[in-house]
Structure formats: structure tokens, C-alpha cells
Amino acid sequence: MTVFKPSHEEQNKSSSGTVLSRRQFVFGASAMLALTTIPFSKNALASAIGQSLTQLSGKVFDLSIDYKTVNFTGTPARATVINQLFPGPLLRWKEGETVTLRVKNNLDHDSSLHWHGMILPTEMDGVPGLSFAGIKPGETFEYKFPVKQSGTYWYHSHSGFQEQTGVYGAIVIDPKEADPVVFDREHVIMLSDWSDEAPETIYANLKKQSDYYNYSERTMSDLFSDIKKQGLVNTWRARSMWNQERMSDRDISDVTGATYTYLMNGNPPAQPWQALFKQGEKVRLRFINSSAMTIFDVRIPGLKMTVVASDGQNVQPVTIDEFRIGVAETYDVIVEPKMEDAYCIFVQSIDRSGYTVGNFTSDEMFTAKIPDMDPMPILGHGDMGMNMEGMDHSKMAMGSDSMSGMEGMDHSKMAMGSDSMSGMEGMDHSKMAMGSGSMAGMEGMDHSKMAMGSGSMTGMEGMDLSQPSMVMPTLGLAGYGSDNEIKHLDSENGPQVDMQSGMPQSGLNDPGIGLRDHQANYNRKVLTYADLKGLHPTHDKRQPTREIQLHLTGNMNRYMWSINGINFADSAPLELAYNERVRITLVNDTMMIHPMHLHGVWSELETGDPDYIPRKHTVMVQPGSKISYLVTADALGQWAYHCHLLYHMPGMFRKVVIK
């Protein structure tokens, strides 16, 4: 891969200063607290073109959180901002240094800043009630911690719903050693969602009418066209499960473009942000999803993207055409535009209710054409944790038990499932292939291994049967994910939970709803989590000593969210022993993606290679699916663990105590 060079060569270069000076072209690595606005200030069309992020670099930062009137929609609205900037300033740090951040709160309410993805002492993590008491109005809190990592991160308020109204900014940390990723120029691309409505109003609206913002529900004309295409009987069958479950296959996003304006570096699509490149350059784009509620799909028509980092951590480069970025995730990609041209950085919301764009161009006068949005995804049975394809009987047996927990779900319907699938509109074939897709790892496996239990299949791959660890088969081997049976606890039964996944499939190989057919239909390679392998060898090669299975639960209709059916207020902390190596398996018992963020320690996503386990801070759990990661509990203290969708977070939250 061309973007990587042997490290000695890299070191030589940086000592000669050429790498740094090239970087200075974009980001002045200037003196402490120097303000640098990047780039194209000389642009003749500057007034029509969106603003870029403002960078602060150095070791000591003074930040203040204030109210500010903004106008993204034609109507002025009150935002909460950092240093009068929306988004807040881009903080540029250097690995190995200690940073001091003095944060003054000028709001009428408590505030805080959380340094998302940073490995730091618990009292610096910025979560009111866990790390500290929060910053009272008028007060200043001084954060000070050593920077022990490099890459692309972000920071945001962890108080109230201030993330929705603008208290967030980007963090870029330059590595102490030479950067294994080589590039000539870089741009930070911060994605977010803005509403003129107060976040408290949005939350209350959702509690009163959960589909308040969904203007893509099934209509009677959908029904008539289904009947026309598939006939009455097949349509009835296809609809009956959704109707019996009282769920909508169009329930993709809780909050949509009906109220959101999607922003790129604080610019609405009507006034796109612009980024420059020179022909032949390697450009590093650092994507950060700082939305409150919006999962985005990102592509740059005409350019391949090589993913080189996820959540700040370097990964083995993988070249793709499109990727999904969950709330709070970050991805660094390298693009190499070969021609003088303008490209559209096209970022559409997962439910296709809106988009934001950037103009990535070699010339300020060029403007790229904005593509059409892709069709809206429609949920299938697999997204309810009921995969009927590629299912073996052991899973079936297990599933039917836990299925009985599903209200109104009778088994005859299951038997009917395979028939009705063929007639099901919106059930795309790649989704069915998902079942077989996640089995792809089993190719070349013999049947004796298959017989060993479905859950362990991925873990069996390439395993040496003579290894003694085979004798203790209760936990899957590190790097391969969970073997364990899916168990629904009694606490999941009640008015607060409307669904349990009977047969959750691994979300690892699944591009996700709305993206599964992009390879087939558009020849676009879509990133999956299975593509992520750490660039550096796994730090902690120990096997997990135990596994914690957590179920992400909720009642969409009542708009209640919880873990294992228990909301944060009623929950006991999750306790980890200091330095233990543990596997967390998340089972999604809802039909929405939940980007789960564990503070303080890495979430080492088990993507199939124990030697190169990628480290993440936020992991998307697909609807009706499961996913596993390893955690080394090497950070004492109290940490937050929650869904990063802002309006799920109050309930779907746990305190984690490492002692």
C-alpha cells in the first residue's frame, strides 16, 4: 500500500523537516494558542462558501462555553458554542505532551467537556456525576492530562443535551513517532446535525409520538403497489409480522431531516464547505461524526477512499467506495485525486432524509455535482434478530425458546417466514446473503467442525485443534468474538422492552441496512467492521477470562431506552476487576443501530485476527444483531458506558467501575 512507508525512511524525512513543512501548508503547527484559519481565505467566492474549522494548537488552552445566535435555516436560533465558534475550535495536540484546558462555563446551566476517546485519568474524563461534579455556571474547571495517543478524536459537552446545540469540536493529535500514514495535505471534516427546535422539545415530542419526525412511513400506495406486484396473499403475509409486532419497517432514524439540517464543519448544504487539493496529492480526510442522532453514509463519487484509521487508531489500509459512520465514530481516509477536478464529499443520513456536502476541488472555481440520495433503507426480518436464512437447527432451537418471549409472536409465523420472504418487498437479497455472508468465514471448514456449534463458527476459523485452549470451549478465543448462548434476562420482560432478538447474527460482515446492495447495484465497496484490522499488533494478547453479555433494549413506542431492560437510573454499576481482560458482547434487541461508547478503555473489536485487533471507542451495534469486543480494564475509576445517540443516552447508560 502506497500510503505506508517503512518507519526509518519516515523518521529521516521528518528530521529533515520536509514532512512538517508540507503539513504546515494546511495546518500551521504554530506557537502556543496561535489561531489559524484554514485554507482558502483568499477565495474570491468566500462569501458564498462555508467556513472552515478554526485551529488552536499548543499545550495550554482557554475555552469558554457561551450562548450564541446562529442561523442555519433562515431562522435565528440559540446555540451553545465554544469560544464563539460553531463547531468549537479544532484542538491540535502532540502525543507525549501534557495538555491543560481551562474551561469556563458561561451558560445558565451546568456544563462539561468530555474528551471523547482519550485515555486519561478518570477525574479528567468530564462526565458529571462520574468523573467530577460538572462545571457550574460562571465557574472554570482546569483539565490537565498527558496525551498518550495520536489520531483523530473529538470533544463535546456531557451535560444535558448541549451536544445537540453545538458544544463540540475536533481533536487532532500528531504522533510522537513518525506517522505511518503519509499524506501531503489534510482536512478535518466534522459532521453534525442541527435543529432550530430545543433538544428538550425534540425529546418530549418523541416521548409523545415516537414517529414524530418520520415522514417516510408506509402509505396506502405502498400497500397497493405491493399487492399489485406480489398479490394479496403474499402482501398480507409479508406485512403480518410487522403488523402483529406493531413495528414499522421504515423506522430508521428517530430524528430526521424533518427537523435537522446536516452540517459539514458547521456549514449547511446550501453553503457547502470547500476543501482544496493539488493534483496528485495524497490527502488525508479526518471524518468525525459529532451528530446528536444522525448516522451518516459517506462517499466521494469518482474517488476511492483508503481507510487508514478508525476512532483515531491506525488500521491496515483498506480501499473502499463508501462507509457508514456512527455517531461519535471517526474515520481517517486517504484520497488521491489524479485529475484537476471538483469532487463532492457526499454525506447522506442513514434514513435518506437529508444530506450535507463538501466541495473537494483543485480549483476554487470548480464546483462538483451533488449526486442523488440513495433509496431509503427498509428493515427486514434479520434486523429484528430473526434471520431465517442460513440458519442451522441448533440456533433454531435456541431461538424458538427466546422467541416465545416476544409478545404476539407465534411459531407458525416463523414457519411461514421462508415463504413470505420471497414475496417481501424491501427485503433485498443481499440481506439474505447477510446470513450466508456472516458464514463466509466458514468456507473450507469441514462438517465435523460445523457440528461444534453455530455460535463458535467464526472462532473456529484457522484454529489449531491441538491447542490446549480447545479444552475450555466456554469462551470463544480472543479476536474471534463470542460463542456464548444468547440469554434474555427476566429484567427484559416488561413494558419498557418491545422486542427481543431471538437469533441475533454477527453484525461484523454486515454493511448495514441500506448499504447491503450497494456492491451489487452500484459496484461500490462498502466498509464493514470485518475490514478493520489493527495496523499495530494487539497490545494485550491474553484470552478473555469472562464474557459480559449486555442487551440493548427499548420500547420505541414509549421512547424508553435501557440495557438489559433496566434504565440507568435503576441500574447497578458494571464492575470490572483492574487489569482483567474481558469480552463484552452486545446484543441489539431493538431495530435501531446503537453506537455504544465505553469511556476510559479501548473497545477492541473482534474482527477475526487475534494478532491485529483494531481498537475503537465507539462501536455500532446493528439492529437485531450482536457484536463482541475485548476490554483490558487498565484504567481505575468510574467510567460512562452508553449509547451515543443523544436521546437514547439518558436511559441506555451504565456506570462502569474498574477497581
Binding site: 416521548k207 409520538q209 414524530y212 402509505t219 396506502m220 402483529q244 409478545e407
Partner: protein, 237 residues
């Protein structure tokens, strides 16, 4: 029955208080919220058609709410209906709330007071259901079942068929109600949601008295069935 009145009054006041002070959620998981819905406020197209309404309001949390329901019809000062229910509502299943409390039929006279045990929620196939069992002050019993569905013609143009039935355990001569099924009501309303919270509608409404109640109506020279075109608004906040 005085205590019924004072309880109802307190609930109305509590609701009004919460409404006037803007409910602020913060990042509380389960903030105290309030809700007021004008489900129907309509007038028949003929000049002598009545004005009728159906409102509900609640204040409370995810699992527990105080719920008020009121409905009525006004033709003229001699011919009107007015009923108020004050209920405690508790979530008992993912889609169901159990509700209990009191109901007063203020009009027609004489007024009647009832204890209420009901279920409100969403049944499979997206039927909105409100069913209740009533026990009156003199051992009278009654049941009521309302069923409603929403059919989306477009995202904003919505057709709502609804059906309601009432039954009495024994006759109430003063009010000309016979034992058994007393009346059924069916409606079909087409609303256009200008916003999620406000929609004008047109519709047809048909009601019919049944059984002994119909006999009593006939004896009094009253009509036993009635149908009308209506125009109205629905809103919530």
C-alpha cells in the same frame, strides 16, 4: 360523590399548572411531561347538527400518568352530553396502559358517577384501543370499547376509521338507557397534518341506538340513528 368532584378539580388544576410552566426535560431520562390533545373538535355540516368534541390530557412519566378524558356534544341547552374521566394510568405491557379512576356524566341530567377500570393501548395490526369497564354508584355497570386505525394516504393525508360501542348491565330509566348493547358509533375522518400537531379534517359520522335503548328512544319519539358530515380540527401540544 363530592370527593369525586374535588379529585377531578385537583387533577384539572395540576394539569393546567404543569402546562403553564414549560416542562423542561434536561437530560433526564424520564422527565415529567404533559400532553393535551384535542382528538376531535367538530361540527356537523347541517345547521342543526351538534358541535362535538373529545379531548384528553395527561401529565406524568413513562410508566405512570394522570390522565383526563372528556367528551361531549352540544346541540342546544336542552340537548347536550358532557362526560369527564380522571384516571391513574400505569404501563403494564409494552403497548398497554391500565387505567383506573372515576367518571362523571355531567350531562344529560341527572348526572351519574362511575368507577373506571380500563385498558388503553395499541393492539396488533396497529389498532388503537381504549376499552373500559364502569361501575356506577347504584351498582350500574357499563362497558365501552373504542377502536381506531390510521391509514396513511400520504405522509400527511391520513384517513382514520373508528368505531365505538357501549353496553349497559341494566337499564337506567331516567336516562332512557336499556340493558344490553346501547349504541354503536362509526366514523371515517380524513385529516391533513399541516404540522404533526395540527390537522383540519372532514369526515362522516354515524351512530345508532340498539336493543332496549332503541325501543325506549322510539317510544319517546326520538330518532334511533343519526348520520352527518363533519368538519373539524385535531391538535395536540
Amino acid at each position: 360523590m363530592k370527593n369525586f368532584n374535588s379529585l377531578g378539580f385537583t387533577l384539572v388544576m395540576a394539569t393546567a399548572f404543569v402546562m403553564s410552566s414549560l416542562s423542561y426535560a434536561g437530560a433526564e431520562d424520564d422527565p415529567l411531561l404533559s400532553y393535551v390533545a384535542i382528538d376531535q373538535l367538530e361540527k356537523g355540516l347541517e345547521s342543526d347538527d351538534p358541535i362535538s368534541f373529545s379531548f384528553q390530557a395527561w401529565v406524568g412519566y413513562d410508566m405512570d400518568k394522570i390522565w383526563l378524558k372528556t367528551s361531549g356534544e352540544y346541540q342546544n341547552s336542552d340537548d347536550q352530553d358532557l362526560e369527564v374521566q380522571a384516571l391513574y394510568s400505569h404501563a403494564v405491557a409494552p403497548y398497554w396502559d391500565m387505567q383506573m379512576g372515576v367518571r362523571r356524566d355531567i350531562k344529560p341530567s341527572p348526572s351519574r358517577d362511575w368507577l373506571v377500570l380500563g385498558f388503553q393501548g395499541l393492539a396488533p395490526y396497529f389498532f388503537d384501543i381504549d376499552g373500559a369497564f364502569f361501575v356506577g354508584e347504584k351498582g350500574q355497570t357499563s362497558i365501552r370499547l373504542s377502536i381506531e386505525q390510521e391509514w396513511l394516504i400520504t405522509q400527511k393525508l391520513i384517513l382514520t376509521p373508528e368505531f365505538e360501542m357501549n353496553a349497559y348491565g341494566k337499564s337506567d330509566d331516567e336516562l332512557s338507557m336499556g340493558a344490553g348493547l346501547t349504541d354503536i358509533n362509526a366514523g371515517l375522518r380524513l385529516k391533513y397534518e399541516i404540522t404533526r400537531k395540527f390537522a383540519p379534517y372532514i369526515g362522516i359520522d354515524w351512530s345508532k341506538k340498539l336493543g332496549a335503548t332503541a325501543d325506549l328512544a322510539r317510544d319517546n319519539g326520538d330518532s334511533i340513528s343519526n348520520s352527518q358530515f363533519v368538519i373539524g380540527v385535531t391538535a395536540w401540544f
